[in-house]
Amino acid sequence: MRRTAVSSLQLLQPRSLEEAVRMMRDEESLIPLAGGTDIYVSINCGRPPGRRYLNLWQLDELRGIEVRGESLRIGTLTTYTDLIRSGLVQQHLPILASAAREVGAVQIQNRGTLGGNIANASPAGDSLPVVAAAEGVVVLQSVGGERRVAFNEFYTGYRQSVMRADELIIAVEIPPVEGKQWFRKVGTRAAQAISKVVMAAVRAPAPRIALGSVAPTVMRLGNTEAALAAGASLDEAEKVLLAEVRPIDDIRSTAAYRRRVSANLLRRFWSDTAGQGSAQE
């Protein structure tokens, strides 16, 4: 495949978030560019997602991790390396650091961003089940102001979301998570491989289970969660899970494998988080 000629591309370079959202409102079909780890793969193989890009990378106001009120607020440009190194992430949502460690390898972790993972909207995005299980909130900004959308209501279909064309993801807010956190990515190898199945879960009186790569979007297993909360046995919960996931055959795996592994992960989550102990992966 031929690489895209860069001369056919245009990069707009706002100096502030305010200028960036104005450009998003005033210019036609701008594609926000953060770390570039997804967009440049498409450009390099001759399938650019568009011709005109909005450079966010220099907007330092979109970086950083801080506690705001009860929540942990993570700026959209926060890289996987930032997440791995963050004491606050380790304290509030250690499974987000676990997921970040399994994204690509160090070169990608140094550039890929949490906001980019959400915006790219791949059903296989490694951080997405974690944000789903943590019931995170996506903070969107436009010229009209900020709006907050529950992450579990953010995607509407395969690579579709409620985000409007003039909005930018500026942060993700993570409310306090009670219970034991658990994360597991299953792929061909630890580094670089895109997941075949990825699960993030929280063991609590009302358990939370989120799965990636088993449906057109990352999904919460509401029925399985309800069954477990009502005291169902693992065998019963597995039946509910198998009726709930909607995996497909694709280049990385088969639907049958994904169903089997999803059920195995449920069992592993449940046994790993049984009994006393502190939150961990």
């Binding site: 860069v6 591309l9 440049y40 793969v41 390099n44 070169q107 140094n110 580094a191 670089q192």
Partner: protein
């Protein structure tokens, strides 16, 4: 656009979306940085930006404005990692070598074998089988 390349201030004109890989090779004439897969899987194009290894095939030139960029040429030739790679036979075709060395550069002293393997998990070699590579890194990082 100004940035630091291998310790010197440079002012290079290129399209802001041009890949850092191509700017380094074409505008700066430094061919030690290789293109492998072009999708961030193989690590052959690794350079350091502000001391962090990145795949230069995925970095737009605009993103290194004011940054410190180091390519394999920036290590000189007598760097402990370069010497250890030569001594241990850790390079065959050489395609992955600059990426291997620049990625390994960020490891602390006396790294465990597992630590080296994780660090180099995104720099693929199709000739050496990695054993000599890990040996060379261990040797260079011994304190």
């Amino acid at each position: 656009m100004r940035f630091r390349l291998n310790g010197s201030e440079v002012d290079i004109e290129a399209h802001p979306m041009k890949r850092l890989l191509d700017v380094v090779r074409e505008e700066c004439g430094l061919s030690g940085t290789k293109e492998g897969c072009g999708e961030g899987e193989c690590g052959a194009c690794t350079v350091l930006v502000n001391d962090m290894p990145v795949c230069s095939c995925l970095v737009p030139f605009a993103h290194v404005e004011g940054a410190r960029v180091v390519t394999i040429e920036g290590l000189g030739g007598d760097h402990p990692l370069q010497k250890a790679f030569a001594e241990e036979g850790a390079a065959q075709c050489g395609m992955c070598t600059s990426g291997m060395i620049l990625t390994a550069e960020g490891l602390g002293s006396n790294p465990a074998r597992e630590e080296i393997k994780t660090r180099l998990a995104g720099t693929l070699c199709r000739c050496t089988g990695y054993t000599a590579v890990y040996r060379a890194v261990q040797k260079a990082k011994q304190s």
